[in-house]
Amino acid sequence: MSVVAPTVPRLAHTGAVTQTRVIQSEWTKLWSLRSTRYSIGAALLLIVGLAALACGVVTHQWPHMSLHDRQEFHPLDVNLAGVQVAQLAIGVLGVLVITGEYSTGMIRATMAAVPKRLPVLWAKAIVFGLVVLALATPATLIAFVVGEAILAHQHIEIAFSHPGVPRVVLGAALYLTVIGLFGLGIGAIVRNTAGGIAAFAGILFVLPPLMNVLPVSWNNAISPYLPLNAGQAVMALTRDPQQLAPWTGLGLLCAYAAAALALASLLLVRRDT
């Protein structure tokens, strides 16, 4: 094989790095990985599929259910079963969006292209947040429509016009979005996939049951303010006395996510890559 002297073609015009361009870059990065397509696909399937499955089971069992069970039944809780599982997929993907760059070394190429660094973190948050919101919103709506249609066979459905229902259904999509951003923030702080996922799952899912070892008064004082419990408040149609008000709760989860991203941004500028 003969070697031809390579000549590098000249570039007519080079643009400066802008936040918009970094966002376009992150959009390309997000969708060019299989992990994104699998995680988001799994999350959407879970949201709709589990809603249909859970509603189907309840509809089938309804004639045999005790009065107590019937009183405990709430059509929206069954309908949102998928969201409870999907949040794990979304949160883990949020962690991976940044830790995947550290584990592969891609981060060096990224930061060499955008040496001011912060536009990368903001772009990841904007792209990932909007993608999750744009896909989770129709998914929760479809899950609601499908689930309630199934429950209607036993006339135990709830209408979208019922007070609080739009807030719960759309709040679930917002909740997933903020959970994803919380994962991103934790991933950017920890910079390691295993550690990031462990920290995310630990804070979200291990901390709440751990509170049960505390005296009841302490537990009641602390538990509502944990990220999971706070965020879940937006998905409760009737308010539990131990829970924060719906938007207050989601607002607090937003504050946790914002705090994680803010800490991540401070560390990103200071630490060596």
Binding site: A5, T7, L11, D272, T273
Partner: protein
């Protein structure tokens, strides 16, 4: 042009780069030479602003790297450690980087073609061989048509054809007036590619010189002497000036010119059959210079002691 001034970097108390000052000029290939672990990769990360220096500073084309509005247009870099997401295709890797600067897709195709990856551009980079990975890294480095090119051990993993291709590429880039800064731990490779050398050991500057000067400077005067009176000649010289060889009547004399050895022999009626000035090989010259600065050196053998 790269200008480093009193650059130092500590990693958890250990000094990786120590008060390093140098200038890399445009229009030529500058080799960055040093044993493994001497701080070459660290210096390159400091140039790119990936790591912050403990002391000192470094500018590229007149500014710290971070302050350039279009950094990929100023500096293209191939780092030693891989900097590619293994799950992304070569094409999408380049596209993601190109988009940060609004570089058109046509250029990505042109560069993939240039580095010879057209047939595998859609393949996940994690499946690439070391050589293919290097070619992708070089395409990424050239994406922004940079004035300065920094390549960390670019010939690693390349086959002879690839190595030749890199040499031609680097010389071509330098001929176009670009600054080309290439690290290697192989002196022989640098002697074929570089015009100028910056040599470091244990993070410190050892030499900043042209390749020709470097060889001259590093190769201490060495004269091969063949004499039947070897023992008498040894007695006339101090022990650090002379080394016995495996051949009983051949000596290596250091620090004296052939003329001086000849005069000395004549004055003491020592018979000389052969008197040959020796040129140290590039590799020897490099090892002589850096022998004190090898981080993970082997136990010195007696011959090396004399040579030093």
């Amino acid at each position: 042009m790269i200008v480093a001034e009193h650059l130092s970097k500590d990693y958890s108390g250990k000094r990786a780069v120590d008060d390093l000052s140098f200038t890399v000029q445009p229009g030529m290939v500058t080799g960055f030479l040093g044993p493994n672990g001497s701080g070459k990769s660290t210096t390159m990360r400091l140039i790119l602003g990936l790591d912050a220096p403990t002391a000192g500073h470094v500018t590229v084309n007149g500014k710290p790297y971070r302050e350039h509005p279009a950094p990929l247009h100023e500096v293209g870099a191939l780092l030693e450690a891989r900097s590619v997401h293994t799950g992304r295709s070569a094409y999408n890797h380049l596209l993601a980087l190109a988009r940060t600067h609004g570089i058109p897709r046509s250029r990505i195709d042109a560069l993939i073609d240039l580095v010879g990856l057209s047939s595998v551009a859609r393949m996940r980079a994690g499946k690439f061989s070391l050589g293919m990975g290097q070619r992708l890294g070089i395409a990424a480095a050239l994406l922004g048509d940079p004035d300065t090119v920094i390549l960390d051990e670019p010939v690693n993993g390349l086959d002879p054809e690839g190595i030749h291709w890199i040499r031609t590429l680097l010389r071509g880039l330098a001929a176009e007036g670009r600054t080309v800064f290439v690290s290697s731990h192989l002196m022989s490779e640098m002697s074929l590619t570089a015009d100028h050398l910056i040599v470091i050991g244990r993070g410190r500057l050892i030499a900043d010189t042209s390749v020709d000067q470097f060889i001259e400077m590093a190769s201490a005067k060495l004269v091969r002497v063949r004499t039947p009176d070897a023992a008498r000649l040894v007695a006339l010289l101090s022990s650090d000036q002379v080394a016995q060889t495996t051949d009983a009547d051949v000596l290596e004399v250091r620090g004296l010119s052939p003329d001086e050895v000849g005069e000395l022999a004549f004055a003491h009626r020592v018979r000389i059959y052969e008197l040959t000035p020796q040129q140290a090989s590039l590799e020897e010259a490099f090892m002589n210079l850096t022998s004190d600065a090898v981080e993970f050196g082997m136990e010195p053998n007696p011959d090396a002691e004399i040579a030093a």
